[in-house]
């Protein structure tokens, strides 16, 4: 007993390799002591050995003070559970502290996933290059974006696209570019600031793609979908119905008031590969920007009451030769 009270190096317990999992249940806070960087693996099922996750197989009220949770409290909060079950419950459902390595691993995984998705949806993909280009974009941060946006407003979008490459290289050289006033114009271009773990890889990939296409650190273009749209000829000549019938198609509806169905469909198709009329059917094969596919297919199905079809031939045409 006395040795426990004398403060000596050998009997100090330091909370160094500890990561806490906390849970509030029945107005009480419970904690368990785990090793660092293990809880996410355990939850993902990669770690199966409980002993290499838990430091002490016990439930605490406060780990740092060494206060073990009283049995009565536990019984009240977790009725009908043994202590081991409670530990597991907390481990699986409590809030965790994400360790340094865990975060690093997750970020890296996310980064790769995003790059993989981006590479799959750009024309002429260059895996390593995309990774580097994204790094470049995120390291430039707001500076380059702001400057380019300002330039873009002066010179028009087309000029901007061609210029942006030189500019982005120029800005890396002169890092301390003046920022005044440019922050306001910042919104014009999508920017990319690196991956985060709290958004899905797919949505991040979409952002990354937009930023890449806007800044063009390497020449890239979004791969387009190839669609085959068939439609009875009788419908083709009809004027597009009033938007009132379909409130969901929001942005397209104003312009769609005038013009025939055919015009409308063709306006979606960026590049027409072939266009034929066979009997009663009109068929067009062409490339469509992936972003507008949804509106197109909605339009096709609503306007023609399902008699016209939009069929996906290729999700992403990444090579010109295809």
């Amino acid at each position: 007993m006395p040795s426990a009270q004398i403060n000596q190096p050998s009997n100090q317990i330091r909370l160094t390799n500890v990561s806490l999992v906390r849970m509030k249940k029945g107005k009480k806070r419970y904690e368990i002591a785990c090793y660092k960087n293990t809880v996410t693996s355990f939850r993902a099922g990669h770690e199966t050995d409980l002993d290499s996750v838990l430091q002490i197989p016990n439930v605490f009220v406060n780990v740092s003070k060494g206060q073990v949770a009283p049995n009565e409290d536990l019984k009240k909060s977790f009725p009908g559970m043994s202590r081991d079950e409670i530990v597991l419950e907390i481990l699986n459902k409590g809030e965790i502290q994400v360790g340094e390595k865990e975060r690093g691993a997750e970020l890296e995984r996310m980064q790769r996933e995003v790059v993989e998705i981006v590479a799959g949806r750009l024309v002429d993909p260059k895996m390593g290059m995309i990774e580097k280009a994204l790094d470049q974009l995120s390291s430039q941060g707001g500076h380059a974006v702001g400057r380019q946006a300002a330039k873009g407003q002066e010179g028009g979008a087309a000029a901007d696209r061609s210029n942006s490459r030189e500019q982005s290289t120029a800005t890396t050289d002169s890092g301390e570019a003046s920022v005044e006033g440019e922050a306001a114009a910042d919104k014009a271009k999508p920017k990319w600031t690196g991956v985060t773990t709290n958004k899905s890889a797919k949505s991040q990939a979409l952002e990354a793609m937009k930023a890449l296409i806007a800044h063009q650190p390497i020449p890239v273009a979004r791969a387009r979908m190839r669609l085959r749209i068939t439609c009875p000829t009788s419908i083709l000549k009809q004027t597009v119905k009033a938007p009132a019938t379909k409130p969901a198609s929001d942005d397209t509806s104003e312009e769609a008031v005038k013009g025939t169905v055919k015009d409308k469909i063709l306006s979606f198709v960026e590049q027409v590969e072939s266009q034929d009329v066979l009997g009663e059917e009109w068929e067009v094969v062409g490339f469509v920007e992936p972003g507008s596919f949804k509106t197109l297919s909605e339009f096709v199905s609503t306007q023609t009451k399902g008699r016209a079809r939009a069929e996906v031939l290729d999700m992403a045409v990444t090579h010109e030769g295809d």
């Binding site: 290499s52 995003v114 590479a119 390593g128 399902g306 079809r309």
Partner: protein, 1105 residues
């Protein structure tokens, strides 16, 4: 020695008899470039003092730095010789032009050797006296053999025998004769191999040749009397005598016998020490001793090498039989080696290693040499040594005299070599007789057809072209002196830096910096760096002219390597180009020429873009020979593959341009862009790769470039394994999945099965055919669409489609394109019929195939088993019109069938294991039901589309995983030639990298083995380098992409049964190889990997930070 003006060289180019085109070949570090230095010094281009140290032809900075040659380079040298036509006649002065090519010895650059040797008529093969025959020596000897070059053997580094090994003269003699035997054994093995081939060929034709044989036999008997009886001769005769020799013309055999072996008495062996600047042939000594001994010179020449002894009393030459127990030294030891040893003793030996002045005095007096006083007083014994030798046995004389006497001039050489060369070229029978004649009989006249062979393209910065130099490149005496002074100053500085030790690198540094300074003066540019950057690169063809005369402004045809005179106008059409300039190749500098006659080496400008790597130039189009396609050039396939990317992404275009240039400038580089968008170059070795990267960074691309491992493709598949986990849902059966969309409106039932192996193989082989069928079908649809659509246009459409296809896809399969639809179906059905187990499943399946995948051409099939055939049939016959479904509801369902087909493409494109394409699975679509009214579903078709696709894809994936999944590795087939000693080590390397030996066979008649192995591409990074290192270069692998091979191991396998648990423990101690590959790919793609973040959590660093 005075500098030889280029005008003189140009004049000499006109005289075919006085030209010698030679290349210098040897193993790494056997002294090629040092030897070349000594020859260059004779023309006053460099100082004789620096010869052997400066390595003039190593013009690249990295060559100087590393001390090895990397690129072959040529120089033209002048040599004059006093010659007596008859013994009594007045000596006549004859002038010679020697076109010399120095080649690299490292194995990575062996392609340079093969290109160099094709340009030449003779070869000088160097062998290190100490190291003897090395791996590359064998290679170069084989090269000379194949190219039918007359070789000259130089045993170099003789000084090492004296100073390093400290052999006595007699020991050295034994050593040398053994060395010579080794070399001759190598050459003999080539000759034997060829003779056996001849023999074989002859045996096949024996009946036709009976009469000819009889005639030849008589001739042979006549030849035999004056023939030299060598060992090989005897072996020749033992075969059913006379008949064998008759298979080839008798005189051919005779010549062969004479030529192939190296024998000092025939003066094709030179003993030398390039570093000390001496060399001799026995003939030289024969001349020296002629008077002294009173023995006829030609007799002496014969007996100076070999077991001949000089009787000290009678002064007569004795054979070994007449020795009678006396202990005499062979004549070579007594008369030759001992003298040389004495010189070394006198200069480097002595009591305190400072030489022996008394002995030296004796020697100089005896040899009637006079050494300059300052040399005699010199403290440096080396200087003394080289002074003695340069006065007594200068290297250049021995070598150049032998070259001129032994090696053929272009007219004779072409007459001997070209018929065989032309016969081996493609379409030989179509070659125009006139051109053939002109080439064989060496007609340099103006009107004669011009034929030249361009062996490689050399990239030269614009500033180094003579056009841009202020005056013709030739330095005036003043300038030369100035430059020399500068260089000396630099060298002194360098020496001071290196503590008085003139190490080679710093000297070379000094030289190059002096050169740059000079360029500065000439162009007046302020910054050499800046100037360098502005220099565009020019490509100059490194060529040998075989006939005719080439003049600046001539228009000639450039024949690509695939050209054949049989079809001169075939695609790609030979291009007609204008020669913009001609250059005399002088090592690192070029001299402009106006015209060049046949038999010379020349640099040709104006070929940029017309020749990629090598090619033939001809003044005629029809009947021109193609010299560039014949075997020798493509012997060394590039084997080290790396992916390149610029360090800064914006430089991508620059890099691609640089890569294209590099591919042109280096015959051993292959550049390709992969489907994944990677830029991959293949180089001949790691060292070669390093050089290419340096070239790219500094010359071609001028941006920073990083190299990395190329991405390796995989495939995923399933098999019916012996023991599988229980099917997920026993009620449905294995692989059957019922998917319901989240909105519960669409239900999809499908079943996944592994395709029978023959079917998969068939589909993999005929990818091209499927693609073509697909495009045909599209064409048909279009045609039906057009109102005129009669059957008449079908043929055209088909042809169009298949033509497109030929461009788009190359199939390795036997005639994948010729398969018509019916044939394709038939053979596919046959393939299905081969499967024995589930006959009923695969019956009539061919007609129900709805699609192939991924990308609509892959080796997976979607089979439609629905009752009303929702999907369009892929392999329908032409006359079957697409089934028009009058039923409205049906049509509605078929909208979703499209989505299912699309989901099938998606699922097969990215498999569940690691998102790699699938191979060899069949998806049976069993039913597709929609639980809502058409109107309702039409309303939210957008949502349903997504749901259907997702559900189907997931269903296919889970069906896939219900079977035993497998991963397929990309495989290289690897051919390795190795000698018996290193066989074990080769096996070790292959098995450690997960490869497997397919076959091993002895390569008759040599002792080499040919090993055929399969090696996963994923493990091939650094393979060739490792195998070379482990076998000291005696094994050379060649890798060719073979296809995909299944790794028969379930990546998800864990021990389950009691027995397995007992054997392997719960965690399966044995590593699951398949899982390792899968995890690697998953980690690369950012997919979830079943791996702990930290291995042992309790042992993490516990210090608080």
């Amino acid at each position: 020695m005075p500098v030889v003006p280029p005008e003189k060289l140009v004049k000499l180019q006109q005289q075919g008899q006085g030209i010698r085109n030679i290349c210098i070949l040897a193993h790494v570090d056997h002294g090629k470039t040092s030897l070349t230095d000594a020859l260059i010094a004779t023309n006053g281009i460099i100082s004789p003092k620096l010869a052997g140290k400066i390595r003039y032809l190593d013009s690249r900075p990295d060559e100087q730095l590393r001390g090895i040659t990397m690129e072959s380079s040529a120089i033209s040298l002048y040599f004059s010789l006093l010659r007596r036509n008859a013994p009594e006649a007045e000596p006549e002065r004859k002038e010679y032009l020697i076109n010399l090519i120095d080649s690299p010895g490292h194995i990575d650059f062996s392609s340079e050797v093969s290109t160099a040797s094709r340009l030449c008529d003779g070869a000088v093969v160097l062998v290190d006296a100490v190291e003897g025959v090395c791996s590359q020596t064998v290679t170069v000897l084989r090269q000379t053999w194949l190219e039918k070059l007359r070789p000259l053997l130089v045993i170099n580094k003789m000084d090492r025998l004296i100073t390093e090994l400290k052999l006595s003269p007699s020991e050295a003699y034994t050593h040398l004769s053994k060395l010579l035997e080794q070399v001759n054994a190598v050459v003999g093995s080539f000759a034997l191999g060829e003779r056996m081939e001849d023999d074989l060929r002859w045996r096949e034709r024996i009946d036709e040749k009976v009469t000819a044989a009889v005639a030849a036999k008589g001739q042979h008997a006549g030849d035999g009397t004056n023939g030299v009886s060598k060992g090989r001769k005897a072996s020749l005769a033992e075969d059913d005598e006379g008949l064998v020799t008759s298979s080839t013309p008798a005189e051919y055999e005779e010549k062969e016998d004479e030529d192939i072996y190296f024998e000092p008495e025939r003066n094709n062996v030179i003993f030398s020490s390039a570093i000390d600047g001496w060399a001799f042939t026995p003939r030289q000594f024969a001349g020296l001793y002629e008077k002294k001994l009173g023995i006829k010179r030609h007799v002496l020449e014969k007996v100076l090498w070999g077991d001949f002894y000089l009787d000290p009393k009678t002064k007569r030459i004795l054979g070994p039989k007449h020795l009678k127990g006396r202990h005499l030294k062979p004549m070579f030891v007594q008369l030759v080696l001992e003298q040389i040893w004495a010189v070394y003793e006198a200069t480097l030996g002595g009591p305190n290693k400072k030489g022996d002045p008394v002995l030296l005095g004796k020697i100089t007096k005896g040899l009637n040499l006079s050494l300059p006083a300052h040399v005699m007083r010199s403290k440096d014994p080396k200087a003394l040594l080289s002074a003695v030798f340069s006065a007594w046995l200068p290297l250049s004389t021995a070598l150049l005299v032998s070259v001129i006497e032994q090696l053929p001039n272009p007219p004779t050489a072409q007459e001997a070599r070209l018929p065989a060369l032309l016969a081996a070229s493609p379409g030989a029978e179509y070659i125009n007789a006139e051109i053939k004649d002109a080439m064989t009989y060496f007609k340099p006249g103006k009107g004669q057809p011009v034929v030249a062979y361009v062996s490689k393209m050399v990239s030269v910065p614009e500033s180094e072209l003579p056009v841009n130099k202020r005056r013709g490149g030739m330095l005036s005496a003043d300038e030369a002196r100035e430059l020399g002074r500068k260089k000396r100053a630099e060298i002194e500085k360098a020496q001071a830096r290196a503590n008085g030790e003139a190490d080679v690198a710093s000297v070379s540094d000094a030289l190059s910096s002096a050169a740059i300074g000079d360029a500065d003066e000439l162009t007046g540019a302020s910054e050499p760096e800046a100037e360098l950057n502005e220099d565009p690169e020019h490509l100059i063809g490194f060529a040998r002219l075989f006939s005719g005369t080439l003049t600046v402004g001539d228009e000639v045809y450039v024949l690509p390597p695939k050209y054949t005179p049989a079809r001169p106008h075939a695609h790609p059409q030979p291009r007609r180009v204008k020669i913009t300039a001609l250059y005399l190749l002088m090592g690192r500098s070029l001299e402009s020429l106006d015209s060049v006659p046949a038999g010379n080496l020349v640099g040709i400008a104006g070929l940029e873009g017309a020749i990629l790597k090598s090619g033939t130039i001809c003044s005629h189009l029809e009947g021109a020979p193609n010299l560039s396609s014949t075997n020798a050039i493509s012997k060394n396939a590039p084997i080290v593959r790396v992916a390149l990317e610029p360090a800064f992404p914006g430089d991508l275009d620059k890099m691609i341009r640089g890569l294209r240039l590099l591919e042109q400038a280096d015959p051993a580089v292959l550049y390709e862009q992969l489907e994944s968008g990677e830029h991959v170059i293949c180089t001949a070795g790691e060292l070669h790769l390093e050089r290419c990267l340096k070239d790219l960074r500094e010359r071609f691309a001028k941006c920073d470039i990083q190299a990395g491992e190329a991405i390796v493709p995989y495939r995923e598949s399933i098999v019916r394994a012996e023991e599988m986990n229980a099917a997920r849902d026993p009620a449905l059966g294995r692989g059957r999945v019922e998917g319901v969309t989240t909105s519960k409106q669409v239900t999809i039932k499908l079943r996944v099965r592994p395709l029978p192996v023959p079917v998969t193989e068939f589909l993999v082989k005929h990818t091209g055919a499927v693609k073509r069928l697909y495009s045909e079908r599209k064409a048909q649809d279009q045609e039906r669409a057009s109102p005129l659509g009669g059957d008449g246009t079908t043929g055209d459409a088909l042809e169009d489609a298949s033509e497109q296809d030929i461009d788009a896809e190359d199939t390795t399969a036997e005639g994948g394109h010729e398969l018509s639809l019916a044939e394709f179906k038939q053979r596919l059905a046959d393939a299905f019929a081969e499967e024995k187990t589930d006959k009923d499943v695969w019956k009539d399946v061919v007609d129900k195939i709805a699609a192939f995948g991924p990308r609509r051409v892959g080796p997976n099939v979607l089979i439609d088993l629905t009752e009303d055939n929702l999907c369009e049939k892929f392999l329908r016959e032409e006359h079957e019109a697409p089934a028009d479904n009058p039923n409205h509801a049906n049509k509605h369902t078929s909208t979703f069938a499209d989505k299912v087909a699309y989901a099938f493409q998606l699922a097969t494109h990215q498999g569940p294991l690691c998102s790699e394409p699938l191979q060899g699975i069949a998806v049976f679509l069993e039913s597709l039901t929609i639980h809502s009214s058409p109107e309702e579903s039409a309303q939210n078709i957008g949502r349903l589309t997504g749901e259907t696709i997702r559900t189907t894809r997931d269903a296919i994936r889970s069906g896939f995983l219900d079977w035993s999944p497998r991963i397929l590795l990309a495989i290289y087939s690897c051919e390795i030639q190795a000698s018996a000693e290193v066989l074990g080590r080769v096996y070790g390397v292959i098995s450690r990298r997960g490869g497997r030996i397919v076959s091993e066979s002895l390569l008759e008649p040599s002792t080499n083995f040919t090993i055929l192995a399969l090696l996963p591409v994923a493990e091939s990074f650094g393979f060739s380098d490792e195998i070379r290192q482990r076998t000291s270069g005696f094994a050379a692998p060649q890798l060719v992409f073979e296809g995909f091979e299944m790794l028969d191991e379930d990546p998800f396998w864990v021990p389950t049964t009691e027995e397995e648990l007992e054997d392997l423990g719960e965690k399966a101690d044995r590593e699951n190889v398949a899982k390792r590959y899968v995890d690697k790919v998953r980690a690369r793609k950012g997919l979830v990997v079943d791996r702990k973040v930290v291995e042992s959590a309790e042992k993490q660093k516990t210090l608080k930070r």
